[in-house]
Symmetry: C2
Subunit: 244 residues, 2 copies
């Protein structure tokens, strides 16, 4: 690339990276707000999350168009192309996380009309906080091209999976104890699973960073932490047959 074209390319790339960071900021806020809305019973905040998803989707579309334009006009090769394609993938991950936050916010109003499940709301919020901090770090790792920080994010996803497993068991127990808890627990379980999936998408972003810097794809079958699909022991401690 000539000096001149290279500098236009750099400017384009900086522009689209700035947009990714803006999108990341909105998604972080959405994760935080969606779990806070549930814990503080704040329907207005839930509505704010639903609204912000529109802006997130628009940013993804813009980033997609800009990266396509960069590829078409600048024809970046090898390393440069890898950066552009990573940005495209990261924006898809961010969009999905935003969708999960929106789905959680949609459920909030329904849940607020039901039996309260003690402790579940704050447990969900702790889980969401961990995912949010992982997202922050994965985007920092991207900007700084820091594979060590990215690997740290990947490792922390196991904690999120463990929090999810604990909540799953808890919900089963609550439902067994009193069938009146069933509907609320089904909705809460959705939210827990959504949060766990957000963690998976954050992990994908961190994996992109590692691929970008080292050229290696981390092994996909990293110790997956959601044990509920394979562990038959995940059933409540004592099936109290007749409800409460």
């Amino acid at each position: 690339m000539s000096q001149h074209i290279a500098s236009i390319y750099d400017r384009d790339l900086e522009g689209v990276q700035a947009r990714i960071m803006k999108m990341g900021g909105l998604v972080e806020q959405a994760i935080q707000d969606s779990s806070k809305a549930l814990e503080t019973r704040d329907e207005e905040l839930a509505e704010k999350v639903r609204q912000s998803d529109i802006a997130i989707d628009e940013l993804e579309e813009m980033i997609h168009e800009e990266t396509a334009r960069i590829i078409a006009l600048r024809a970046p090769t090898a390393g440069d192309l890898r950066v552009v394609l990573s940005i495209m993938k990261i924006s898809s991950n961010l969009e999905r996380i935003g969708d999960y936050a929106k789905n959680m916010a949609k459920r909030t109003s329904v849940l607020l009309q039901m039996t309260q499940i003690t402790g579940a709301h704050s447990a969900l919020r702790r889980m969401a906080r961990e995912v949010e901090s992982m997202l922050q770090d994965s985007l920092d790792a991207f900007i700084q091209r820091d594979p060590v920080l990215a690997q740290d994010v990947i490792n922390r996803d196991r904690d999120v999976d463990q929090m999810y497993n604990a909540l799953f068991r808890e919900f089963l127990t609550f439902m067994m104890e009193d069938p009146r808890n069933i509907t609320a627990c089904m909705h809460l379980h959705f939210m827990a699973k959504n949060t766990e999936r957000m963690g998976d998408h954050v992990t994908s972003i961190a994996e992109q960073v590692i691929y970008l810097v080292t050229g290696d794809t981390p092994d996909e079958e990293r110790l997956k932490g959601d044990k509920t699909s394979v562990d038959p022991s995940i059933a409540p401690p004592a099936p109290s047959h007749g409800g409460k």
Copy 2:
């Protein structure tokens, strides 16, 4: 593009399109097998689904590399670039659908050890069949660049969402009736939700086709059919407090 470069480009594109169709075939099979394994209590078939996900993931990686190589070497512009980027997106969707099928297969062995929920397995299989046929049509629509067929797929996703809503209500009722059903219903509900999400990814593929042909992105907020997040009436008919 010169005649010579154009024909190399066409050959490259045909190669990667052929790979997408191969990947699509494997994913269709995985959808079918994962629900069949549950209905026919076939653990070997479930294992086959888990194995085939490895091949699906490898194909996605290959397609990603090939499309990146095409972009880098041929520098396609405008319409051609749109095709290449669509292929990249479609392969991501297929990979996610394959993941959902694998997750369902993982749950099969656990479920086979639990109380049978009458009718649920065949209802799930009907849902999976509809998603599989939608996937077939969306890939046909892609190859034939047929936006009418693609729109038809998008419309049919509403049926899948309705099947999911019906199952969700059914699971709630089963759990209320007898707490011994709770654990099995939680797992079955996962599978129903996974199938519904597969439908969403198939819809994304169909939307890609429409974008590719017409340049328009169909409105994302198409009448979403999963009503369980917003409809407070989705609770079982009569909470029979004390279990059965």
